[in-house]
Structures are given as C-alpha cells and as structure tokens.
C-alpha cells in the first residue's frame, strides 16, 4: 500500500470554489467573465441538461413509472442526483430533534430540479428585527441588493408582473403564462375571501433572451431540467458559459475535506478526496469561496481546525452551524367535482404554478411573527407512479355521472371512475419564514465519519410555537379556499395539534440557511456584509449559509444576487491588492 500522500495540484488559481449550485455557479461565472482563473470543485459527477435530462420521456419509459428511489426522491425522471440519503455519507440528529437534509451531488447541484420560484426579498425581509424585535437584522438592506437582483433578472431571466407591492419588489420580468383552469378557480375563490392571487415569478424563459438558451416550449417538466436551457439551472446557465471563457477548471467527484490555512491564518486552498480514486488532493487559490450548501459549508468550516482557528475556521464568534432554518411548509389538497369529466386539452404550461399568493396579512394581528406565501397545483398532469392511488377512499364519496357508487370496486365501472376523476385534483402549500434561532444548529458529530473519513454533521433543530401557529393558519386558510371552491378535501383536512397542523419536518422544504451568517458584529456573525469571513479575509461563503433570515421567499434568487455581489467585491479588492 502506498504511503499516505496529498497530491497538490501545481496550478495556482485566483479562486477555488466549493460547490457548483446557484451560489458557486454564479461566483464561477462572475469571476471567470472578469478574467480570473477559477477552480470549481463539485462533489458529484458532470451533468448537462441537454444530454442528461429525462425531459419529454413518457411514464412507461421508466420501469418504475417515475416512482421515487433513494437516488431520486422526487421521482425517476427528476433532475437531481441523490436527496435525503447518500450511500456512504450519513448525518445524525440529536435525540428528540428533527432535520431532513437534502443533498445534491452533481454539476449544478439542486438547481437542476428546483421549482424555479424566483422571489426577491423585500425591504422588510432584511430588517425584521426592527419590525418585531425577533431574530436579527441583516447588515445590508434591499437597496444594497436591488442592483444585483436587477442584474440577475437580466442575466438569467424570470417571468412575473410588477404589482407595486411593498414587500414583493417589482423586477425586470418576462411575460408570465396565462392561468390554467384550476388556477382561475383558485383565484376566484381566494379573491372572494380577500386573499390575493397574482402571476407567479419563475425563472423560465417565455421569451428568448440570448443565443445560448432556448425558449420555453411548455412541457411542465422543469423538475427534470431543460434540454434547451429554457429554465435556470446553474449547470446550463452559469457553469457552461463560465467554462466557455477558458478560465474555469471543473473538478467533479471532488469531496472537499477542509479549507487549508497558513500560519497567518489565511486560506491557501482546499483539500479534497477524489471519489473515483479515493486519493487526497489539494488545490490552491488566492481566495476560497464556499458554496457547498448552508450545512455543507458549515461542516467544512467546523472541520477546518488549525492552530490559528481552533474553533473551526471563521468561527471565533461560535455562530457557525447555528441559526439553521428552513422554510416552513404545510399543505392541503382535494378534488374539485366541477372539474370531473372535464374536456381534455394540453394544459402542461410551464413547470409549476402560473399563479401564487404572496403574504398578504399583518403579523401584528396574528399569533406568529412571520408570513408565508402560497403555492398552487392541480389539473391534467402527466400520469406517473401513484396515479389513481387510494381510489377506494374517494370514489364512494363522489357523484359519478349523477349517481353515488360504492367505494372501491373493479371492472369497467372502476375504469370509468379513473377517467371521470382525472384532472380534478387541486392543492396548495404554504412556504413560510421560520425564525432563525441560535438554539437550532448543526455541529460536528464527534463519533461518526463518512466513507471519506470526513466527520459528519449532527443536527439539533426544533420548531417553536411560532412555526406551529403559522402552520395552523396555513391549514385553516387552505381549507377555507378549498371550501370556497367547492372542493372535497382529501389530504390535510384532519390536521391538528397532534401533527403540528401538518407542519413539515424542518429541512423538508430544502431551503437550508443561516449557518454562516453575516453581520456587522464579528462576535455575533461569521461573515461581514460582503460575505467575507471576519476572521479570514480571503474566505467567502456565498450559499444560503450567509443568510441572517430568509423571509417568506424561496432563497435561490437572493443566493445568486449575493453571490454576484460578493464576486464583484472580490474582483474589486483584488484590483486594489487587498486580496
């Protein structure tokens, strides 16, 4: 057996980036476009939607008809490699706590399959402590990020409408698609009880924006990633053009072990395990940029212990790993008798909802401090594994062609029931802001390592009454909307205190954030307002880790805006010889 050896890559880079998702992809793109030499480490294999997406496959082309596996928890055609568990890469949870951790391992990370819901944070989202006294304000405000949101809108493309809402800022929008039938019914019902419904804001190209990317052709399969790059994935929209500059080397299947620092405490590079040959490597750069996901970036920092950084890198404040939070989530769904036996036509539309509800109430009058937005689904979707499942609980409750049948059954009459009910489903889910609490954290489990010998994370997260009260409000609101629509509720109707009103386990909504938060006070934050470590000036974190809080918005658009902002700052500081 060969002696242990770390192979150091001879090439010195301007920047070493860990992770190729929204944050890492944007950093690679911005730096490479300015001429800097970049090494991009990715823990999974290469992936190009043009050749690797399962777009336009029919259900029968999957032997499991699109059912989920541990490799693809969102279904066999989904665009993301791995998810809740990865062979050889465990994580643990403190007793009595919950956190489900989604990890993508592929070029572009989870952006290959995400919902493309591209919401800007509003002015209040950066300053919530000033409003309700809870949590912490960001060291920056909307006005600091707005120019970058504008640039991201133009670079990536997003559809939506300018509504002039205070905390749902206007943007530079492409035209949205018209609502589908069930969405018109939702809108009518919700508006009737004072709940706004507006066009959704998704990063899908309803118009062509450049020659490198195609235009949406309305197959509803953004979750599989788009072969013509008509939606945003970091792989196709950022890493590909970054590589085309000739300034970026991507190293796939590279599992980062730690950030290497020198005697002065500055970062010199990243050591990693090559998953193919299981050998140790090191790659050096003038700056190191972490974008491995909020929890993986925290894990890397906590594992990067040195004489100068004895509590882990960038962790003299002891906040790394803390303030971990996800979006809250709860849903209710049902069937709409009015839609039974409906006329067939192609209503695929774009991948995801054409309308949504931004937060519309004043939390001062409620028993929870932060808001939520509502996402909707339904209609005549492509059949997949699970189609018709549980009909024995439904077909006895409905009038089928004017008469009520017995539940269950078989034969021609049953076959007719499936046809009659197809496309009548409708559902909605809330995505809300959870409070970022110091007591919710991830840390290094002292007893467990992964197959690469890297110590793993142990989670310790619990929801508070704020989140549970919020979920109760969601549940009651959704039931009210569905009731107004005349729907029969089939799921979520029996929520109550026994199941926290349907509140999903933290982590489940896959919006991890807060573990490497920014702030003006080095005692209470890991990064400054430029996403730069207080303790190590040539170290940056540009994923959800840097978030102080995440509003009731999906976080990807803000990750990209902040990553672009940090990258421009790096370019500037390098010009000034400060880095």
């Amino acid at each position: 057996m060969a002696a242990f050896q770390i192979k150091e890559q001879p090439k010195k880079y301007d920047a070493v980036i860990v992770g190729s998702g929204a944050g890492g992809g944007m950093a690679a793109y911005t730096l490479a476009k300015s001429g800097l030499k970049v090494c991009l480490l990715e823990a999974g294999p290469m992936f190009d939607p043009a050749t690797d997406s399962a777009q336009l496959k029919n259900p029968w082309e999957s032997p499991r008809r699109g059912a989920s596996t541990k490799f693809r928890p969102f279904g066999d055609f989904d665009g993301c490699y791995w998810g809740w568990e990865i062979d050889g890469e465990p994580y643990t949870k403190a007793e009595g706590t919950e956190w489900d951790w989604w990890r993508a391992r592929m070029l572009g990370g989870r952006t290959n399959h995400w919902g493309r819901i591209s919401l800007r944070f509003g002015p209040k989202d950066f300053k919530h402590k000033s409003i309700d006294g809870l949590g912490e304000d960001w060291p920056i405000g909307y006005e600091d990020v707005k120019p970058f949101y504008d640039k991201v809108d133009r670079l990536i493309g997003v559809f939506g409408t300018n509504e002039g809402l205070e905390n749902e800022p206007d943007g530079i929008f492409l035209p949205p698609p018209l609502p589908r039938l069930h969405e018109l019914k939702i809108k009518k019902a919700a508006n009737g009880i004072g709940i706004p419904v507006i066009p959704s804001r998704l990063s899908i190209l309803t118009k062509k924006i450049n020659d490198e990317r195609g235009q949406c052709f309305y197959c509803a399969q953004c979750g599989r990633s788009c072969k013509v790059y008509a939606d945003f994935s970091s792989s196709s929209c950022l890493v590909k053009p970054a590589v085309a500059t000739g300034n970026v080397d991507v190293i796939p299947n590279a599992m980062a072990r730690e950030v290497v620092t020198n005697a002065d405490g500055l970062a010199t590079g990243v050591s990693y395990v090559d998953k193919d040959d299981m050998m140790e490597y090191q790659v050096d750069g003038r700056v190191v940029i972490l974008a491995a996901s909020a929890c993986e970036s925290a894990r890397l920092l906590l594992n990067s212990v040195s004489r100068r950084h004895q509590n882990g890198l960038a962790n003299s404040s002891d906040v790394v790993g803390k303030y971990l939070h996800d979006s809250t989530g709860a849903s209710v769904s049902g069937v709409l008798p009015e839609l039974m036996g409906r006329k067939r036509y192609n209503e695929d539309g774009v991948g995801g909802m054409h309308v949504y509800t931004p937060w519309w109430l004043d939390n001062k009058k409620l028993d929870f401090p932060r808001g939520y937005h509502i996402e909707y689904w339904g209609g005549m979707q492509q059949p997949a594994y699970g189609f018709g499942w549980g009909i024995e609980g439904l077909n006895g409750k409905l009038e089928m062609h004017g008469k009520t049948k017995e539940a269950g059954g078989y034969g021609k009459s049953l076959k007719e029931d499936y046809r009659f009910m197809y496309g009548a489903g409708v559902g909605m889910a809330g995505r809300g802001e959870a409070l970022a609490l110091e007591s919710n954290y991830c840390e290094i489990d002292p007893n467990v390592v992964d197959i690469y010998g890297i110590p793993v994370l142990r989670f310790n997260v619990k929801y508070s009454d704020y989140e549970i009260n919020q979920a109760k409000h969601m549940n009651q609101t959704f039931k009210e909307i569905l009731h107004e629509m005349g729907a029969i509720i089939t799921s979520g109707g029996d929520a109550g205190p026994h199941n926290n009103w349907g509140l999903q386990v933290p982590g489940k909504i896959i919006h991890e954030a807060g573990t490497v938060r920014m702030g003006n006070d080095p005692k209470k934050s890991a990064l400054n307002k430029w996403s730069q470590a207080h303790d190590c000036k040539n170290l940056f974190c540009v994923d959800g880790g840097q978030f102080v809080s995440q509003g009731d918005k999906n976080i990807t658009w803000t990750i990209m805006a902040l990553s672009m902002r940090a990258s421009e700052y790096i370019i500037d500081e390098m010009k000034k010889q400060n880095l």
């Binding site: 690797d52 336009l56 699970g386």
Partner: protein
Amino acid sequence: MDRRESLKALVLTTVSSTFLLESCDSNTKTEEQTVAEVVKTPDASKAGRMKEEIARLKKIRSEDFFTEHEMATITVLGDIIIPKDEVSGSASDAGVPDFIEFIVKDKPENKTPMRSGLRWLDIQCQNRYDKPFTDCSEKQQLEMVDAIAYPERAKPEMQKGVAFFNLMRNLTATGFFTSEMGVEDIGYMGNRPNQWKGVPEDVLKKHNLAYTDKELRECITFDRQA
C-alpha cells in the same frame, strides 16, 4: 489529469435552440421532429443516470420474485380490475403484470403484502371451491372478488383480503394508466413542445370564467383569440 481535459470538452453541447416554436404552431411534422430531437440522447439508458442507479436496475432485472403461479393469479386479478372495454385494452394488454413484478422488487415493502395476499386468496378459494383462485370458474372468481372489493361492505373476516385487493387495485391502476395504452385512454395530451395559449374559450364559458384584461395584456398569449 485527463478528467480536466474531458471537462473542457464538457458534454455541454447545446441542442439547437432556434428550432423551437417558430414552426410548431402550423406544422405538425416539424413538431414531431422537434420532439425527436429533444428526446434523442446518446445512450438513452445511461445518459443522465448515476452509476449507482444503473447497478440497481441491473440487479432488479436479474432477480425473479413472483412464481409462475403467482404471476398467473396477478394476471387474472389485474384483468378483473381493469378489463378491456370500448376505449382500451386490459391490464395485461398493457403489460401490468410485468410492471407489478418490477415494482415489488423496487419497493420491497410490497413483497410481503403481495405474497401473503395471494396466498390468502388461494386458501380462501381452496376452502370455498376446493381449488386455487386461477382454477376457479369465472363466476367463482368474481364471487370471491366481490367479497373483498368493496371495503365498506366487506365482512370483518375479509379484512385481510380487502387490504390485499386495495393494494392490487392501486398497483394495477397505476401500472395501467402509466402505460402507453393507459395514457392514451386517460386523455393526457401534453408532453410535447407547444405554446400555452390559456384555457380554451369554450371551456372558460362552460365554467363561467374569463381572463381579465390585465391578464390578457400582461401574459404571453401567442395568437390566442379572446
């Protein structure tokens, strides 16, 4: 490192992005060509699949779970649940038994409920008619099925059979309506390049709905006639 080299060559070749939409409105042939081009992948079975997934698929395919007799029972039951009618063929016409064989290996939590349910069914038939389910007459088979197909009226001692039949019904329907025949039957018309022009006008009228001027002004409508 050649990995770096292969990287530069990055499979990131772009599918021609101009072919879309200009043509797919008026010319169906072009639309089909478009589909063909988008679907085309170098090696459809391996492109975009992880090596772990390919290995798992190979393993599942190399195993048999159900016996010949069990498969025969599944076939008869499946066709009782989804028979041929005026619109489409039966469960077995759509290959449902093979799907069920695959999916219980892929989702092994179904193995015991299925095997023990099939066994339960045969024992019931043995007690009632002195032969296993597949050897019973059609009338006897339907009599047996009637006893377990309606959860709300089934006798308490039939509960095991009801649970099994629910699973069998669900697997059969899911397998059927995700087959080519089943998707055509259900009338799903998507999964192809097109332009979303909104809900057809006659459907809007039927539901007493209309798009607002704001929607028609702000949304992409293509050549929709309001």
